[in-house]
Amino acid sequence: MNLTLKVWRQKDANSTGKMVTYKAENISPDMSFLEMLDVVNESLTLKGDEPIYFDHDCREGICGMCSLYINGRPHGPKRAITTCQLHMRSFHDGETITIEPWRAASFPVIKDLTVDRSAFDRIQQAGGYVSVNTGGVPDANIIPIPKVIADEAFNSATCIGCGACVAACKNASAMLFVSAKVSQLGMLPQGQPERWSRVQSMVAQMDEEGFGSCTNTGACEAECPKEITLTNISRMNNDFFSAKLFREEKVHDHSGGGE
């Protein structure tokens, strides 16, 4: 296969970027999308040019590091997979493929197709955990959890934190990401003690990071490689309003308290 690539090139966060056109030649349909980029990068390197920088690591769809907005869709045209799981046979010979980084104010470009997603980490740090220290926990089987709850919590917990939801959302909203963690811990008995403070903390941090707000378009759900559902957002909203309007708990502030 021979392809034309239009790729966003940007030297660093402070530079302005532009689209640059490359030829990708002799591409095997068996290649993954990232392997196709590897080939292009090898040829760029041999010419002494700087290779295209993109985030990637596990290349099996679980680490959440790869991104890429391909022809108008995060992780490319296929459902429920990440870019590293996308194969070139999903494209046709001679096609022009436009590759852009995730676009969001909260995800500034680091270089080329790589963006800084540390906002996601900070949201998790604000409350995406159960406050238990190592040791001194009860036996794992002491609290039975209905299978349906455990399974649903698992579904929410499969989020890989790739940011496709933000990239797909017309408002660059992070609601699907935040709600997946809020839901997971909110459903499990272990997460109950901090349920009402957690949701407030995480939403406050989400707002601080400058993500847009949700208008329930469902684009995030459609593009999520792990098929996290909008139900999570709904659960989070419910918990948030309940916490804000009817509960005693406030935004929890754990900072500095530890010994």
Binding site: M36, D57, R59, C63, G128, Y129, T134, G135, L188
Partner: protein, 644 residues
């Protein structure tokens, strides 16, 4: 130098509790005066960083990825073992200990392995308390599945994403401490050297992968939780970024590297499709329960298959060689990982491999589909079939899967004692990065167990003992060793950046991988290893002359990152070959063709080789010195495996 593993005396079951009592403690008020550096944020790193911060130490954690959650522990599929005996099927700490020692082909320490089995039960409790959504029964209690190498159901799992869920649990504990300010997290930071002052580890040198800055970090102790070195083979189930650099730099600063030749090769991976391939994807071992492994009987048939002149279905039954069933009538397709892998390789070496590249054998479900019906097969393996279809564009319901072994895990690593301390005081190694608990072969669902055991339940005790002994005096960053080490790092980067040859780093890596796979892979010989040693030396020399590295040092530079890692693999590769040459026996993942039973099984030589081979670095291009730590087996009886 003598290697003292510091295994406590006394009965097996009391070793760890007695040892914990004998370890010195750090006064709670003093803990905040200690800085601990944790490199890597996988299961071992994240759990260690969080647990130490909870105790009150100041932790600095580092990862090269953009977030600690990306570490490759996340990709582990199957599960995590724990001797909970929830199934009432006869499991116990002793049984898990015994299975692990035996599975490791008697090349691990009894004391370490017993402790691992002992704390395994705490891990599950800890993870559940963190909100890890393990699979459950309808009654609401935890579910277990059985896994290779044991006859009890002791594996806890979260669908096929156990590693992900456990890592996210540890990541959440880490996040809590970051929020509290007890852990300072450095992402996109790669450790490039360890600083030793008077023989003790006191800090590290890192490169900020965004700005290119070379930074110095001080700490009273340095914990390396940087995973395995499977990527020395270029193609493996590891992540692209997985590398040996941190461990290798530590090795060059004095830490011994133990058993580097022990590598685990997983039999059921999706085969390579061409030179462009960047990594291999694992398919669950459970497929061999219903799939039949075969290759064409003749090279001619294989040739036709490779050229796609005929399809697998057109190969008549009598032209097929179900080689595992033929050679191992009682175990058949269910022989252990290493045996299945080696036999597939033999087929390919014989010219009977299939698929476009010829590096594959068939895993055929036609019989199972005929017997059970497509629906039943789909219910069992549907998600795996879909994954295979996605990657290969071949429908495994209609034509046999193509599989081939791939490098999966490395049992070797930095030598550590019972306290997880390397021979360099203050320098610790946890998880896959160390060598300690799996012997020559790791059992399924044990990697997650070991990483978390080290991080949650071992290091918080053992590290305190060392810290108490050195006292809380701040580390003096103005010591010349810091400037000197930093300069070494800068010089090396400049040397790499000056390489403007004609061959890309990736090509060197691929070449190295070919050599390692060919001569130091599933089956090794004296002759092949000797040849490999020469080839690696030549390749390494060529690398430092003819490699092409673009870009500058003070910016994002993937080419430079890669070059540093591959340069280290080029050195490690030779040590692996040396270790494999030295170990003139077969055991677990190390198979020497010269040492096999009549049935073609790994033949150990316990009289000569029941030791840990720990290598000491002696300078560039100098032969390394071997130190032996004898393995004493007080409690288990050594036997030879057989699958007749």
């Amino acid at each position: 130098m003598s290697l003292d593993a510091k295994i406590p005396q006394g009965p097996l079951a009391e070793k760890w509790s007695k040892h914990k009592f004998n370890l010195k403690l750090v006064n709670p008020a003093n803990k905040r005066k200690y800085d601990v550096i944790v490199v890597g944020t996988g299961l071992a790193g994240a759990s260690a960083a969080a647990s130490l911060a909870e105790l009150g130490y100041n932790v600095k954690a580092f990862c090269f990825q953009d977030s600690p959650r990306r570490a490759h522990s996340i990709a582990a599929q199957g599960g995590i073992n724990a001797a909970k005996n929830y199934q009432n099927d006869g499991d116990s700490v002793y049984r898990l200990f015994y299975d692990t020692i035996k599975g490791g082909d008697y090349r691990a320490r009894e004391g370490n392995v017993y402790r691992l089995a002992e704390v395994s039960v705490n891990i599950i409790d800890q993870c559940v308390a963190q909100g890890v959504p393990f699979a459950r029964e309808y009654g609401g209690l935890l579910d277990n599945r059985s896994f290779g190498g044991s006859q009890v159901s002791r594996t806890f799992y979260a669908r096929g994403q156990t590693g992900q869920q456990l890592l996210l649990g540890a990541y959440s504990a880490l996040n809590r401490q970051i929020h509290k300010g007890k852990v300072k997290m450095y992402t996109r930071s790669e450790m490039l050297d360890v600083v030793t002052v008077d023989g003790q580890a006191k800090g590290i040198i890192t490169r900020n992968l965004v700005t290119g800055e070379i930074d110095t970090h001080t700490g009273h102790a340095v914990l390396l939780c940087t995973g395995g070195y499977g990527n020395v083979f270029y193609l493996s189930t590891n992540a692209i970024g997985s590398n040996v650099t941190a461990a290798w730099r530590a090795h060059k600063r004095g830490a011994f590297f133990a058993n580097p030749c022990y590598t685990q090769i997983h039999p059921t991976c999706i085969p390579v499709t061409g030179d462009h391939q960047s990594k291999l994807t694992l398919m669950s071992e459970s497929l061999r329960n219903d799939g039949r492994v075969w290759a064409p009987k003749t090279v001619e048939t294989a040739e036709k298959l490779r050229k796609k002149e005929i399809t697998a279905a057109q190969v008549a039954e009598e032209d097929r060689d179900y080689f595992l069933e033929r050679k191992y009538p009682s175990f058949g397709n269910l022989v252990p990982r290493d045996v299945a892998s080696r036999n597939a390789k033999e087929m390919v070496d014989d010219g009977r491999g299939v698929g476009g590249s010829g590096f594959a054998v068939f895993l055929d479900f036609a019989d199972a589909i005929n017997r059970l019906g497509q629906e039943a097969v789909a219910a069992k393996y549907g998600n795996l079939f879909d994954m295979y279809y996605q990657i290969t564009d071949e429908d495994p319901y209609k034509q046999p899967m193509r599989i081939y072994p791939a490098v999966h895990y490395t049992m070797g690593g930095l030598w550590v004692d019972y306290n997880l301390s390397t021979n360099v005081p203050g320098l610790y190694a946890l998880g896959e990065c160390n060598f300690s608990d799996h012997g020559a072969n790791r059992l399924g669902a044990s990697a997650l167990m070991q990483g978390l055991a080290d991080g949650y339940f071992v290091i918080p005790y053992t590290l305190g003992d060392y810290l108490a002994s050195i006292g809380p005096k701040p580390v003096d960053a103005s010591h010349p060793a810091f400037a000197k080490t930093k300069q070494d790092v800068v010089d090396r980067i400049n040397t790499l950046l000056a390489l403007k040859g004609t061959k890309t780093v990736n090509e060197y890596h691929r070449d190295l991988g070919h050599i390692m796979w060919e001569y130091c892979g599933m089956a090794r010989t004296e002759e092949g290893l000797t040849k490999a040693k020469g080839l690696i030396q030549a390749l390494r020399a060529d690398f430092w002359k003819n490699a092409l590295i673009v870009g500058a040092g003070d910016e994002v530079n993937a080419s430079l990152e890669r070059a540093g890692r591959v340069a280290d693999f080029l050195e490690l590769g030779e040590l692996m070959v040396d270790d494999a040459l030295m170990r003139k026996e077969s055991c677990g993942g190390h198979f020497r063709l010269e040492s096999q039973t009549e049935e073609g099984e790994a033949l150990r030589n316990d009289d000569v080789f029941a030791f840990v081979g720990a290598w000491q670095y002696k300078g560039d291009n100098q032969p390394e010195e071997l130190h032996k730590e004898t393995l004493d087996f007080e409690f288990v009886h050594l036997t030879q495996r057989s699958y007749k």
